[in-house]
Symmetry: C2
C-alpha cells in the first residue's frame, strides 16, 4: 500500500533538475533555518522535501482516477473543498494564477487514490497515507494514496499545511517541493472529551470543535453527554429523561445527536457516547424520581431496582441507533455509595444480597456491562472499576485511566486494554497544565513488552465542562490538545525529546489554527491565558 506509484516517481526524478532533497528524520523539532523548518503538525512518520515552490492553480482540483473508492456520499469531495477553503480563506487573491504564471510552476490539483471502497469508520481502520508533491514541471498534480478515505483525509490535512500565501507572488503556494510523505498514526485512539452536562454546547459549537480536531488528526470525540447536573439528550425509550436538561432549549434531539455523529464521521472522527453510571447520574431522576435512592439522597442510581437497569437498557438500545462506534463508555467513576447504605429500602436489599457498598458498586457496573454487551458494544469504563474489581470486568473492557500516571502499566499487565488520560497531564480543565506536559505525557511509559504495548489503544485529552461553555471551549482546548495529538500520532523516533525544539513549530501550528478561525490560545501561557502584551502570534 505504501509503494509509490512508479510513474509518479519517474516523473519526479525527470523533473528534478537541480532539486535537492532534504530527508528529515527524527526532525520533529529540528530547524534548518527559518525557511527550512518543517512546519507540519503532527509530525509525519517519514518526510522529505525540497526547496522549490509551486502555485496552486485557481481551478485547483480533486482527481480520483484509479480510485476503488467511489465517494458516493461525497466524503472526499467535501473534505477537499474544505481544505481549499481553509487555505484560501486566509487572504484575498485575484484569480490570476492560471493566466499570469509560468505553467511549469503551477500545481493543478491533488490526485487521490483510495484503495478500499469501504467507508465504514471503525476503531483500528487503516489511517495511513502516502503523499507526494512533485517538483517543477508540467501538468502537475500532487499524488495522495491511501487504503481508506479517512487516511486520504489525513493526507489532505498534511497537504494543507504545506501551503501558504506568498505576499510577493500574491498566490497560494506549496512550499518546499518536492515532498514525499509516508505517514500513519502511532495509536488508533486519539481522543478529546467534551462535556455537555455541566454546560450545554450548541450544535454549531460542537461542529466547530470537530472541525478543529481534524487539523491535528484526532479521531475520537468522547461525548460525556449526561452528568449530575443535566440530562440534555432525548431518549425515546424514556422520554422524560431529558426533563433533566437545564432548560427546554438546552437539549439535543435524536436528530441532533445523529447529525453530530454524521458530521464527525465524514471527517474521520468517531463519537464515543458516555453514559456515566451509577454515579454522576442525579439528573436522570428529574424525569424519573424512582431512579433516585430517595428524594433527599439522589445518587448513585438506585442499585436495588430493576427499573434502573431497564432504563439503562432503554438508553443503550436507543444509543445503538445513533452511536455506531464499537465502544460505549459506561463511566463508573467517583461512586459514593452512601445513599445506598443509608436508604432503608436499599439497605434491606443489600442485606438480602449480602453486599456492602463496594460489592453493590461492582454488581451495578458488571450488570450495566452485560447490558451494553447485549447491544453489541464493547465497553470503556473509568479506571476506578479496574482499581476496585479489575479481574471481574468483562474482557471486552477498555480501562480509561484518569487518576494519575502508572495505571496503564497495571491494566495491560492484567491483559485489559487501556486509554490514557491521566489528569495531571491531559485534563484540559487543569489550567495550570501547560503544553509541554501535554506533549511529554507518554502512554507507553514503563510498558516495554510489545504485546502489552498493543493493549494501549491510545489516549485522550479531557475538556471537562464545569467552567467551560461556548465562550471559552476553543481556547481551553487549543493549542494544548494539539501537543497531545502529536504524542498520539507521531512515531516515537520523530517526537522531540528536547522541547525547546518543538515550541516554535507548535506556535506556528497555533497561528495556523487562528488563521483558520479557531480561537487557539497563546502557547506560552497557562491554560487559555490571554496574550500578556502586544506581539507576534509566533512568539506568544
Amino acid at each position: 500500500m505504501m509503494v509509490v506509484a512508479a510513474d509518479l516517481l519517474g516523473k519526479t526524478a525527470f523533473w528534478g533538475i537541480g532539486f535537492c532533497l532534504i530527508v528529515v528524520s527524527a526532525a520533529a523539532g529540528a530547524s534548518n533555518g527559518a525557511n527550512e523548518r518543517l512546519n507540519i503538525w503532527p509530525m509525519p512518520k517519514s518526510v522529505s522535501h525540497g526547496h522549490h515552490s509551486l502555485y496552486l492553480s485557481d481551478g485547483f482540483e480533486l482527481k480520483t482516477d484509479g480510485s476503488t473508492y467511489l465517494d458516493g456520499s461525497g466524503i472526499l469531495k467535501d473534505a477537499f473543498s474544505r481544505m481549499v477553503e481553509v487555505i484560501r480563506g486566509t487572504h484575498a487573491v485575484d484569480g490570476n494564477v492560471v493566466a499570469g504564471f509560468n505553467q511549469s510552476h503551477v500545481l493543478k490539483g491533488v490526485h487521490v487514490v483510495v484503495l478500499s471502497a469501504n467507508e465504514e469508520l471503525q476503531h483500528g481502520i487503516d489511517e495511513s497515507y502516502h503523499l507526494t508533491v512533485p517538483d517543477i514541471g508540467s501538468s502537475l498534480y500532487a499524488y495522495l494514496r491511501a487504503q481508506t478515505v479517512y487516511g486520504a483525509l489525513h493526507g489532505l490535512q498534511t497537504f494543507s499545511q504545506m501551503c501558504q500565501f506568498n505576499f510577493t507572488s500574491r498566490a497560494f503556494e506549496v512550499h518546499q517541493v518536492p515532498w514525499t510523505v509516508l505517514d500513519q498514526p502511532r495509536f488508533a485512539y486519539r481522543g478529546l472529551l467534551i462535556d455537555t452536562a455541566r454546560h450545554y454546547l450548541p450544535l454549531p459549537v460542537i461542529k466547530k470543535v470537530i472541525d478543529s480536531m481534524t487539523y491535528s488528526k484526532l479521531n475520537v470525540l468522547h461525548w460525556h453527554i449526561v452528568d449530575t447536573q443535566s440530562f440534555p439528550l432525548e431518549i425515546p425509550s424514556y422520554p422524560k429523561l431529558w426533563d433533566g436538561a437545564y432548560s427546554s432549549s438546552e437539549r439535543y434531539t435524536v436528530g441532533d445527536a445523529t447529525e453530530i455523529v454524521r458530521y464527525a464521521q465524514r471527517r474521520g472522527i468517531n463519537v464515543l457516547a458516555e453514559l456515566d453510571v451509577p454515579g454522576h447520574a442525579q439528573s436522570w431522576g428529574v424525569g424519573y424520581p424512582k431512579l433516585w435512592p430517595s428524594k433527599d439522597c439522589q445518587q448513585p442510581l438506585d442499585v436495588s431496582s430493576d427499573f434502573t437497569f431497564k432504563v439503562i437498557n432503554g438508553i443503550l438500545s436507543d444509543f445503538g441507533k445513533i452511536f455506531k462506534y464499537k465502544f460505549v463508555h459506561l463511566g463508573g467513576d467517583e461512586v459514593n455509595t452512601t445513599c445506598w447504605t443509608s436508604t432503608p429500602r436499599i439497605q434491606k436489599w443489600l442485606k438480602t444480597r449480602r453486599f456492602d457498598g463496594q460489592q453493590a458498586y461492582q454488581y451495578f457496573v458488571l450488570r450495566a456491562q452485560k447490558i451494553a454487551l447485549s447491544h453489541g458494544y464493547e465497553i470503556i469504563n473509568w479506571e476506578e472499576t479496574f482499581n476496585n474489581f479489575g479481574s471481574k470486568l468483562s474482557r471486552k473492557t477498555v480501562v480509561h485511566n484518569w487518576l494519575g500516571g502508572g495505571v496503564a502499566q497495571q491494566v495491560v499487565a492484567a491483559g485489559l486494554r487501556c486509554i490514557v488520560s491521566n489528569q495531571d497531564k491531559w485534563y484540559l480543565d487543569h489550567l495550570d497544565a501547560t503544553w509541554d506536559g501535554f506533549y511529554s505525557n507518554e502512554p507507553l511509559a514503563n510498558i516495554t513488552q510489545p504485546k502489552q504495548q498493543a493493549l494501549v489503544l491510545g489516549g485522550e485529552v479531557c475538556m471537562w465542562g464545569e467552567n467551560i461553555d461556548a465562550s471559552d471551549i476553543e481556547q481551553t482546548i487549543w493549542p494544548r490538545a494539539a501537543a497531545a495529538a502529536e504524542r498520539l500520532w507521531t512515531s516515537p523516533e520523530n517526537l522531540a525529546n528536547d522541547l525547546s525544539k518543538v515550541g516554535g513549530r507548535l506556535a506556528h501550528f497555533r497561528c495556523l489554527l487562528n488563521q483558520r478561525g479557531v480561537a487557539a490560545a497563546p502557547v506560552s501561557g497557562y491554560g487559555r491565558d490571554a496574550p500578556d502584551e502586544p506581539g507576534s502570534c509566533h512568539l506568544q
Copy 2:
C-alpha cells in the same frame, strides 16, 4: 415609507380570528410571563405580537415582487440565506414540514420590498424597516418593507430572533404571531473598534466579528489598523511601510483590506479606517526610518519633514481606493512631543516656526486633516485634538470622545459632531466594565437641545488589542458590546431604566449568540470571565 401595505393589513385583520395583539411599548425589559417575553435584541421602536405559532416551510423562500431594488450583487439574497442557515443551524430536522403539517400553520417565506435601487452604504442612510408576520391562514408570507436593502437586512435579523426550534413539533417556528414591527435606529453611527496593530487578526477572525456585529445591528467597524507596535497593511505608494509588520505572514494586502470592506458592506457595515498620527506611529519607521525623529527617539512622526506628510498623503490616497466610507479616522491621541523638542534637527525647525511642542502637534493634526479633506474624506479625530485646539479643527471634524464622560456636551456646544466612547463605560478591554455600565451609558447625557443632539452621531465600543488576539476577541466583545448596541439602536422610551428587567433578555441574546457559534461570555461575570460553575446559559 412606514405605511403598512394596505392589502397586508387587510389580510391580517381578516385572518385574525381569535388573535390577541399585545402592544408592547416601553417594554424593553417587561416580561409578561416566560412565554410572553419579548426576546428581541436590540428592542425595536415599536412592536406588537400575538400568541400563535407558524412553522417555517422547508422551502422557506425569499420573494421580492414589487421591489425597486434588483439585488444585482446578491446582498439581499445572501443575507436571506445566512439568516435561514443561522436559524436552522441550531438543530437537525427532518425535512417534513411541508408534508406533515397543517398548511394554514406554515409560513412559506419572507416577501421583501426594498424601495430604493441604490445600494451605496453611506453614513446616515435610511436603515428603517417595517416587518409584519401574519397570523394563521393560508399561503402565508412575512412582509418586510424597507427604504434601503440595509434596512431590509436589519429586518431579517429581527425576524431571525422571532424563530425558534420547537422540540415538540420538531420544526423551526415563528412564535408569537402575528407580529408588527416598525423599527429604525436612534443613532446613525453604531461602532465597534478592532485593533490589528497590537495583535494581528487573521481575515476569518475579522469576518466572524463582522458577522457577529450584524446580530445586534452595529453598523461601523472602526479598524485601528496601525500603531506603535506594528504596521500590518500594504500601502502601495510606500511599499516598505508594512516592513513594520510583526512577521512576513502577519500582514494584510490591499486585496485583503478590500475584501474586508466588501464583506462588511454586504452586511450593512461600513469600515472606518484609522491612521493614527502623529503619535502611535513608531512602526512606520521600520521601513522608512526618516519618519522617526531619530533612531533613539522614534515617535511621534517627524513633524519637521515634508516626507512625513508625503507619506500620509500617499497612504490616504491608497486608502481612498479601498475605504469608501465618508470618514477617515486620523487619531491624534496621546501625543508626547518630547522626541520633537529633544531632537536637535526638529528643535531647530520648531524654533524657526516659533512652535512649542503643543503648537507643533496642532500644526501636524491640521496639516493631516487638510490632506484627508483633499482626498474627499471627512475626518474623525480622538478628543485630545478638540481638547487642545478645538476651534482650529476643520468644521468637517467629528470628535471621538474616549477619555471620560461629559466631552460630547462640550463638543456639540462648539458646533462639532461627536462620537462617544468614554473608556470608563465603553472600552471592552476594561475587563471590570460590566454589561450594565455598557447599557446605561447615554450618549446624549446632559445634551438637551435637539440641534446639539443631532451632532452626536452615535457611539462606539472599543476592543483595544494589547491583550486580545484571535483566541479571546469574541468573548471579550460579546455580550457587552450588545448592551451598548441596544443603547445606540433603541428609542429612549424603549430602553430599560430598571436594569433588572433587561438582564434576562440580554442573557437570552447571549445564548442566541452561542447558538450561532459566537463565543459570547456569560452576562453575569466581569469581562470575558468563564462561567464559574455548572449551569444553564440563561442564568449565567
